[in-house]
Symmetry: C2
Subunit: 473 residues, 2 copies
C-alpha cells in the first residue's frame, strides 16, 4: 500500500491504535471513541540487564533442540501401576531411620508446622515414639535422616512424609523403564499429609497397611498393570485437571480395579471395605497420578542443554525447582500463600505457605496447566470458566509443546501445555500456575482449604543465571 | 445526544451499520470497510399468517404462568431407581400379547426396518415364534397389540421394543409419586434396539433376564434407592450430556452400585460378570437416565394451558410430539436423517430416519440442549467446542427456564435449557436439536453410527394451530 493510500484510508476509517504497556493511554483513546487494542507488554525479564544477557545466551539452537527432545520424553512416557509395596522394600535409599518429605532439602528447625506434624505422626506410626514430645526429641536428635522424596524417585502430596513401612504405589514408566513411588491417599481433612497426627490418623494409616494396600496389591498383580496414562487422559475429558480435582480419575480407577478385586479370592466384605474407602475420597487418584508424573519427569533429569523444568516442589518453607540440563541442583525461593477457598472456621491467617510435591503434575503437563479442562477449580478463587481457559492459554506461552495424549475438550481437544521452559518463564516474567491444597500452619490440625498461586519468580531467575554461567555444551 | 452531535460523531468515526436478514448488504458494507454487524433475523413463524395469528393468541399471561409452573415440575422432579422388575409385573397395560415400541403410534406395515427387526427378535425371545418368518406372520396376524412405550409410562431407546418378560428399571419420581420404566441397555452394535435379532442378540437378552437384572435388582433393594438425578447432575460436570455420551454416568453408576452388589451375598464371579458387562458398555447409563426423564416429563402431561413439550419421540417413520396443555394428542411429521459419524463400511445411504424415545432427554433438560457440557459429541459432525456452546445457547431461545440442578461448567455452571416452549419454537422457526444413535434401515443389521439433527418443524406448527384452536381456559 502506498503512503498516500494509507493516509486516505486513515482519514476515512479513523486511526486504529495498539497500545503497549501502561493502560492509561489506552483508556484515554477509548474514551475518545478511537478503536484501540491494549497489549499487556512488559520488557523481557522485567528489564533486568543480567537476566537479559543470560537469556540471550540461552535462546539458541542447541537449547531449542534439547528442549524439544526432552519434552518428547515427557510426552512419550507410559506410566503403569505395576505393584504396591512397602517403602523399605522398593524405594532406593530407604531404611527404618529415614523419613522422606516434600520439596527441596530442609532441616528440622526450618520445617513448617504441617511437615513437623507429619513427621511426628510417622515416628508414632512406625513405633519409634509413643508421644508427640518423644517424637520431637527423636526428630531433633539427629538419629533420623530427613531427605526429600525427590531424591528417591518418590513424591508425596503436601507434607509428603514417607516412612519405611508405609505402602507405596510402584509406577513403571514402560517407555523408559524407570520407576517412581508415592504413598496411598488417606482421604481429606485431618490426615497425616496435612500435618495431623491424632490417634485416628495413625489408626487409619495402620488399616491402610493391613487391609487397603495388600488388597489392592493383589488386584494389581492380577491386572498385570494398570495404565495410569490412559486413566489420566480420560479424566481430563471428564472435568478433572488431575491435581485439585480427581473425581473422574478416582471413579475410573475404581471401575478399572473392580474386575481384578473380584478375581482375587477375597471376601466380599473386604472388597467392600476397600472400595468404600476409595469411593469416599475424591482425591484417591491424586497420589497415583503424582507417581505417574514423577516417573515421567525423571526421564529428563540431567538432560544436557535442556532448560525444561524437571521438578517443582515445596516443603512449606521453600519452593524449589530443578532444571533438566542442571541435573540435581535445586534453586529455591520462599513459598507463597495460595489464594483459595477456606473451610468453615479457617482463613488465610491459618494457611501454611505453599507445600507439597504435587506440582509434579504441572511439570508433566496436567494440573493447573490443564485448568481449562476443570472450570470447577477456578470457582475456589471466584473465577469463571473463561478464567480457567485463560490460565491454560497463558501456560502455552511458557511451555515447549502441546501434549499429544492429554487433551482439553473446551479447547477443541488441544493438547495440554507441557514442558515449562525456564527461558520463556524468565523472559515473560510469568511463572507456572499451581493448584494446591492448603494446610494449617500449626502442626496437628490438617487441611484448611484449597487454592491457586503462582510459583515464586526468584528461583527461576537464579536458575537462569546458573544455566547461562554453566553454558551450552 | 443532540442531532448535530450525532452527525459530527458520524463524520468523525464513520457510520456503524446493523444489518437484519439477508447477508448480501452486510458483505457489501464490510468490503467497503464500514463497521457492520450482521443479525440473522427471520420474520416470526417464517411469515406464515395463520401461525402468526395462532401465536398472538398463545403469547398471553395465562400460558406464561402455566409454563412457569409446568417447568418447575420438571425441575423439581426427583427420579430414583427403586426396583428392577419384569415388564408384565409393573408396566400398566402390559401382557404377553403386547409389544411396546418407540415413538408415536404406528401399524406394522408402516414400521421401519429396525423396529420390525426388533419386534421379530422380541417374538423369538418370548418364545412366541421360532423363526424370522414365523415372527413376521404373527406380527402381521393381528394377535399382537403394538403400542407406543409412551402410552405405558415407558420409554425405549431406538426401536424401543419392550416385551412382557423383559426386565425394566423402575424409576419413582419421589417429588410427585409417579413411576416410569425402561429396559436395561444391551450394549453397542448388533443389538435388539437397533433392529438386530441374531442368535447372539437373543442369547444376550436371556442372560440379561437370568443374571444381570436379578443381580442388580437385589443390589437396588439393598441400596434403598439410587438417586438418578444426582448421578445425572454429576455426569453433566464430567463431560456427558447424558444422551449420546454416558461415559461418566456409567462409571458413576458402577461406583454407586458396587457397595450394594458386594453386600448382596452373591458369588464374586457373578458380581464380576455383571460389572464387566456394565463396564464394557459406555451407554449403560442411558436407559436409566431415559426412565428418569420420562418420570420427569410425565408430571406435565395434560398441564392446563401450558405450551411446554411433554414428549418428543420417533418411531423411525414419524417424529411425534405431545404438548402439556393438549394431553395425550400426538402431532407428527416424517422423521429426518441425522448428520453423523458412520461406522466403517456404512454411510448415510444405510441410515434409518430418526428413531427412538431417547429424545425424552432433551424434553427433560439434558442431552442435546446440554451439548456445551460435552464437546466430544459435536466432533461426530465435524463441529468445534464453540459449536457445542452455540447449540446450547440457541436452545435457551426456545425453552422456558434454566435448570436449577443440571449445570454446565463451561457456561460458568449455568443451568441447562429446560422446557421447550411450543410458541417460541414456532415463532423462532427453530426446532429442538436432537442427539441420537443411527440404526441401519434394514432389519437385522444394527447400529451404523451416531449423529445430530433438528426435529421437524411441521409437527410443532400443527400443534400450535391446534392449541390456538382449543384456546386458553
Amino acid at each position: 500500500m502506498e503512503h498516500s493510500d494509507q493516509v486516505s484510508t486513515m482519514l476515512k476509517v479513523g486511526p486504529a491504535v495498539i497500545n503497549l504497556g501502561l493502560p492509561l493511554f489506552y483508556e484515554s483513546m477509548k474514551s475518545q471513541g478511537v478503536s484501540t487494542l491494549q497489549v499487556d507488554w512488559k520488557p523481557p525479564a522485567q528489564g533486568k540487564k543480567e537476566l537479559i544477557e543470560a537469556l540471550s545466551r540461552l535462546f539458541c539452537e542447541e537449547v531449542e533442540k534439547a528442549n524439544k527432545e526432552a519434552v518428547q520424553r515427557l510426552i512419550d512416557s507410559q506410566p503403569v501401576l505395576v505393584d504396591i509395596c512397602q517403602a523399605k522394600d522398593v524405594i532406593p535409599g530407604m531404611d527404618q531411620n529415614t523419613i522422606l518429605h516434600a520439596g527441596p532439602p530442609i532441616v528440622w528447625d526450618r520445617m513448617c508446622g504441617p511437615v513437623q506434624g507429619a513427621i511426628i505422626g510417622a515416628l508414632i506410626y512406625e513405633g519409634l515414639a509413643e508421644t508427640k514430645d518423644a517424637a520431637k526429641r527423636i526428630a531433633r536428635s539427629g538419629d533420623i535422616a530427613f531427605s526429600p522424596c525427590h531424591h528417591h524417585s518418590t513424591v508425596g502430596p503436601m507434607a509428603g512424609v514417607v516412612s519405611s513401612s508405609m505402602y507405596v504405589f510402584v509406577i513403571e514408566n514402560k517407555a523408559f523403564g524407570n520407576r517412581a513411588y508415592c504413598t496411598l491417599n488417606e482421604g481429606l481433612g485431618k490426615v497425616l499429609r496435612f500435618g495431623a497426627y491424632d490417634w485416628d490418623v495413625i489408626e487409619r494409616l495402620k488399616w491402610m497397611q493391613k487391609v487397603l494396600a495388600p488388597t489392592l496389591k493383589k488386584a494389581v498383580e492380577i491386572s498385570g498393570g494398570i495404565d495410569v496414562k490412559n486413566l489420566t487422559a480420560q479424566a481430563l475429558l471428564m472435568g478433572d485437571e488431575c491435581h485439585n480435582r480427581n473425581v473422574a480419575g478416582t471413579a475410573l480407577f475404581i471401575k478399572e480395579m473392580i474386575p481384578h478385586l473380584l478375581k482375587a479370592d477375597f471376601d466380599c466384605r473386604r472388597i467392600k471395605e476397600v472400595t468404600d474407602f476409595i469411593s469416599g475420597n475424591v482425591h484417591f487418584f491424586l497420589n497415583l497420578s503424582m507417581a505417574a508424573c514423577k516417573s515421567t519427569a525423571d526421564t529428563i533429569l540431567g538432560f544436557p542443554n535442556s532448560t525444561v523444568i524437571s521438578c517443582m516442589a515445596r516443603n512449606g518453607t521453600d519452593t524449589g525447582i530443578r532444571i533438566a540440563g542442571l541435573g540435581d541442583e535445586w534453586f529455591t525461593a520462599p513459598s507463597g500463600i495460595p489464594r483459595g477457598l477456606y473451610f468453615a472456621g479457617f482463613s488465610e491467617q491459618d494457611a501454611n505457605p505453599d507445600l507439597g510435591d504435587s506440582t509434579i503434575s504441572e511439570v508433566a503437563g496436567i494440573g493447573a496447566v490443564a485448568m481449562a479442562a476443570a472450570p470447577a477449580i477456578v470457582k475456589f478463587v471466584g473465577g469463571s470458566a473463561q478464567d480457567a481457559i485463560r490460565s491454560t492459554e497463558r501456560m502455552y506461552d511458557i511451555t515447549v509443546a502441546r501434549h499429544r495424549d492429554y487433551k482439553i475438550p473446551t479447547l477443541d481437544f488441544a493438547g495440554t501445555p507441557v514442558g515449562f521452559d525456564l527461558r520463556k518463564i524468565v523472559e515473560a516474567g510469568m511463572t507456572p500456575i499451581i493448584n494446591t491444597g492448603i494446610a494449617c500452619k500449626r502442626a496437628g490440625v490438617g487441611q484448611v482449604g484449597a487454592g491457586i498461586l503462582d510459583a515464586p519468580m526468584d528461583c527461576f531467575e537464579k536458575a537462569a543465571l546458573a544455566f547461562a554461567e554453566k553454558g551450552i555444551h
